[in-house]
Subunit: 270 residues, 2 copies
């Protein structure tokens, strides 16, 4: 199985690429093709919009590639997501697409276009404490669709997003159709007041109110609020669920960490 | 003219209240009624949601009050905006409502409910360098609807919002109807990548795409991007306008500073 790694947001660190390549080689059940675009740099991004889009479209259209694995998050995939999902070649429809965080813009756009996508660990995660387990889990899912890689609470169609990414997707041409699905969210490096504001926004959306239930993954590296916010992520999320009539489904095993489990989005149309 | 000051988001500093009260007393053309709720504190907020909503509703319903002046921004008015705009008493319809930043949630909700609202300086702005001019401008507008307080580029119906506040309003029950209006935006204390992401979100909204044109106020205290973002707010905003088919109308004289001009929202229905 050939897995292409491209970086639609920020650049992949060389050290991460080397360590992931070594893990792949040691497994022997997959060939990792790390696209040179992963190491481009143009300001914030892994190359210009055109360069990132070209690498994405090239690998999407390559019939020898079985899966596209997004190198890392950061910011920038939204700038090319709509174009990347347009006029898809047949080869693009015969692949799995895996990533999370900023790559959620692509997950949404690609799932809407009928592609097989899943929310889960990315190559750059190898640099986290215990990150090799995250990479192994992602590869287990990509190569074998291994059940052990999955979030354990999945009992119906689901989608998973970083909360801020979801907030910025709503109302756009690539907004996800969440109707009847479990929505799993996670967050990193935000203030509680921003998390509260994003929950106001997300739960205020009519489409989001059609979810089967909302589950909360981990919220890590919260930026200190001055003064103290008084409520934490669990209280914030359950409060907005209650206000908006959304069923709160408890915790989810996803987040910006090595424990981040895989959440396949399932069929585009239910 | 009686002007009530309430704090639907964060608390008003005593020093700001004293200085604004002195400015009001020296003018002699208005009575400033600073509601005690302005000095409440509950974590991030100027009192609980219930306390902030009660102060707001009390002053809205007070026939002796001619204008409500929001004390300051911060975060929190979204938590009570929908309730504040519900089942309005007649007295609430005979007032002007002025504020900006986080108070944009109230401007949107109240304007949608048919009230007279304007985007402009708030009492806490007196603490800025040159802030007395901002307070004088706000009072000139509240008391006299003075033309000299207005943003000079207004030549048709307009609305003004903090970009992040607008992004969080879209799709909610209190989202503004921007169709046919000039949209003026400003921002403070964000990274360029977040400004870029918010512009993706805002210009991706079908309703926003119906604006007459979009104009850019000041973007201040930008948080340093690592690595450098390469484009500034002018390039970011004109780029997203071009991508989304929105006419870019150039600069606007609004922002988180003492120069912030007043932008009345005009009639609720055009």
């Amino acid at each position: 199985m050939k897995i292409a790694i491209v970086a639609p947001s920020c650049g992949l660190k060389r050290e991460a690429a080397e360590r992931v390549a070594a893990i792949g080689a040691a497994r022997g059940d997959c060939e990792l093709a790390i696209h040179p675009q992963c190491f481009l740099s143009e300001g914030h991004f892994a190359g210009s919009d055109a360069a990132r889009l070209a690498a994405l479209r090239e690998t999407m259209g390559d019939p020898s590639v079985d899966a596209l694995w997004f190198a890392r998050g950061g910011y920038g995939s939204n700038r090319i997501a709509e174009a990347a999902a347009r006029d898809l070649p047949v080869a693009a429809r015969r692949k799995l697409y895996l990533g999370y965080s900023d790559a959620g813009f692509l997950l949404a756009a690609f799932h809407k276009a009928g592609l097989e996508v899943a929310h889960g660990p990315m190559p750059q995660d190898v640099l986290r404490a215990g990150g090799e387990a995250a990479v192994a889990r992602a590869l287990d899912y990509i190569v074998q669709r291994s059940d052990s890689a999955l979030e354990t609470g999945l009992d119906g169609p689901a989608m998973a997003f970083n909360l801020t990414v979801l907030s910025n997707l709503l109302g756009t041409a690539i907004a996800p159709d969440l109707s009847g699905r479990d929505l799993l969210i996670e967050e990193v490096s935000e203030h509680y007041y921003r998390i509260d504001r994003a929950m106001f926004h997300v739960t205020g959306d009519e489409g989001v109110r059609e979810v089967r239930r909302l589950r909360l993954g981990r919220v890590s590296d919260v930026i200190e609020n001055e003064p103290e916010f008084l409520t934490d992520e669990g209280e914030i999320v359950s409060d907005w669920c209650e206000r908006s009539g959304i069923a709160f489904g408890g915790q989810a095993d996803i987040g910006h960490d090595a424990g981040n489990k895989v959440v396949p989005f399932g069929p585009s149309r239910l």
